[in-house]
Amino acid sequence: MATLKELAKKDELFSGGHRLCTGCGIPPIVRLILRSANAPVVATTATGCLEVGTTIYPYTAWRIPWIHSAFENAAATISGIETAYKALKKRGKIPKDKEIKFVAFGGDGGTYDIGIQALSGALERGHNFLYVCYDNGAYMNTGIQRSGATPLGAATTTSPAGDVILGKQETRKDLTRIVIAHNVPYAAQASPHNWADLSKKAEKALKIVGPTFLNVISPCPLGWYSKSEESIEAAKVAVDTCYWPLYEVENGVLKITYKPKQKRSIEDWLKMQGRFKHLLKPENKAILDKLQKYIDAEWERLLSLDGKVI
């Protein structure tokens, strides 16, 4: 695995000057993943913050070949690109020794929800690509609407904390498990605060032949109602509370890659974010308890599987 010094020396493939928000988790995730590749990368991005924020014509932040086609089809688009690579290589139109890595980026809306069919199809067909979901827990680009990734109790513009209904009523979809159920060679959860872990996972995912998947938590000051300067800290607390466990499944074996010495209470994470403000009121403790219980159960489940073939 590359050291921080080595990573820093690599070409910057994702230029500054883009229009993503201050404190957005996406740029450090994308930069680090692109730096972790040991071959040229061709990428696609689902409609969303990353696409809108990086390519307002005539500018582009991408110093690699990149395409945006639509919202729900990043996985299908990368399937086509990767297949063209195979076809053209076979026909000698691309040199035999020319290696290219294929990466699709999508937010949680474009991955958990509208893009899940295309993702599932591409995983099943076994294309050689890495899918990266930057999960900020709502449709942030369109203005913070609830998605399948939105945590229980979070207020969004379509699941507001009202007088009667207090934020999102459902627990989030566990997309990483859904991906793992496709028996892909590699899938992992990561966080931008733990750059070494993220980079190692990206490097591994890009090395493995076949479909690989990274689900990366991506703090969003706009939608989380959190402080821009605390984004990386917010990602860390999400991991330390075990809301966002860092683990990987490689060839069927699950491994937790970081175990907090002291698992923190979910309240520590919630209080950093205005979207959970209502959950901290004593009268709404039941929702908070439900969330804590869900997180505890999930963490226990992971601990019970750690090191095992799943």
């Binding site: 061709v42 990149w66 086509g80 199809g121």
Partner: protein
Amino acid sequence: MAVTMVKKQAGLTGNSAVAYAMKQINPDVCAAYPITPSTQIMEDFSSYVADGKVDTELITAESEHSAMSACIGASAAGARVMTATSSQGLALMWEMLYIASGLRLPIVLANVNRALSAPINIHCDHSDSMGARDSGWIQIYSETVQEAYDNLFQAVRIAESEKVLLPVMVCLDGFITSHAIENISLLEDAEVSQFVGGYKAQHPMLDTDNPVTYGAMTLPDSYIIFKHQQSEAIGRAKDVVVEVGKEFGNRFGREYGLMEKYRLDDADVAIVILSSAAGTTKVAVDELRAKGKKVGLLRPRLFRPFPFKEIADALKSIKAVACLDRVDSFSGFGSPLFNEIRSTLYEFEKRPKVINKIFGLGGRDYKVKDAVGVFEELLKIAETGKVETLIKYITL
């Protein structure tokens, strides 16, 4: 059933002929999803892949939306790409059709025309491709199996022309053409590769030394400029269609143009109709001509871009014209052929009376007597100058 013998003549269904044309073209990538009545195209083609008759990479996508998305990815990557679909499949691709044309990707799609749900119906009408008529795709409609086969080769050339760079949809009628066996003339593989030539994409994404950004976000300062360029490009396609059709004729003896005129030159009245139903109409033309009635037919081959000038020239001296649409633009002022043709003729002071018939939806039979009925109505209009009903369903 996949064709295994190479010979000059073969009895093939429309689907098998299209698949065989695809085999001869041997594109880099195909991505498709099964749907009646076009399924057999990809079944045949899958056999060609499995038997090593082509070295195309096949993506059996999990939906038509993803099939077209994969085509877009593959085409932007620099591959020659083809697919086939019908009806709901084309409808599911809708969003991506606009993106394929907007990104100027020369994808070729065989659309086997089928009605749209609801109620569900697997038989022929043109509601699928007509719904996509403003998606920026070039549309060519085929009357016969032979034509569908020939059109596919021409489509590749038209799409990839540097003057055009747009996707092309070759339409053939579901079941009527797709499942009917016709004895057709086949080209030799070498003739096909000579005609279609190799493909070199201008800005392939796989050229990692020269990175390009496809599909950037555009704001009001630039979006309209891209659309204007796209509009100019599809306009240029008309001449390219003619050039390619002529070259095809010179090489193989079957020339294609913008339209087919059948006993039209001295006609008093005419039917304008697309695809296989033109064959039925021609029988009616012959029957009435034998009785001394001056009737004729115009069959547009190219519907997008619509060759309005040429079609207007062909129709302007006719007294009465009926546009027969195998689709209903619900509560619009008539259906697509009628809209285009009536509006095209408006600029002439002396112009034909134009009426619209909606026929054959969901595979309803369109018989010689139906065409004769329309001609008789047209002859009456030509004589009296009076139109009773402007837009009407027939074959009910």
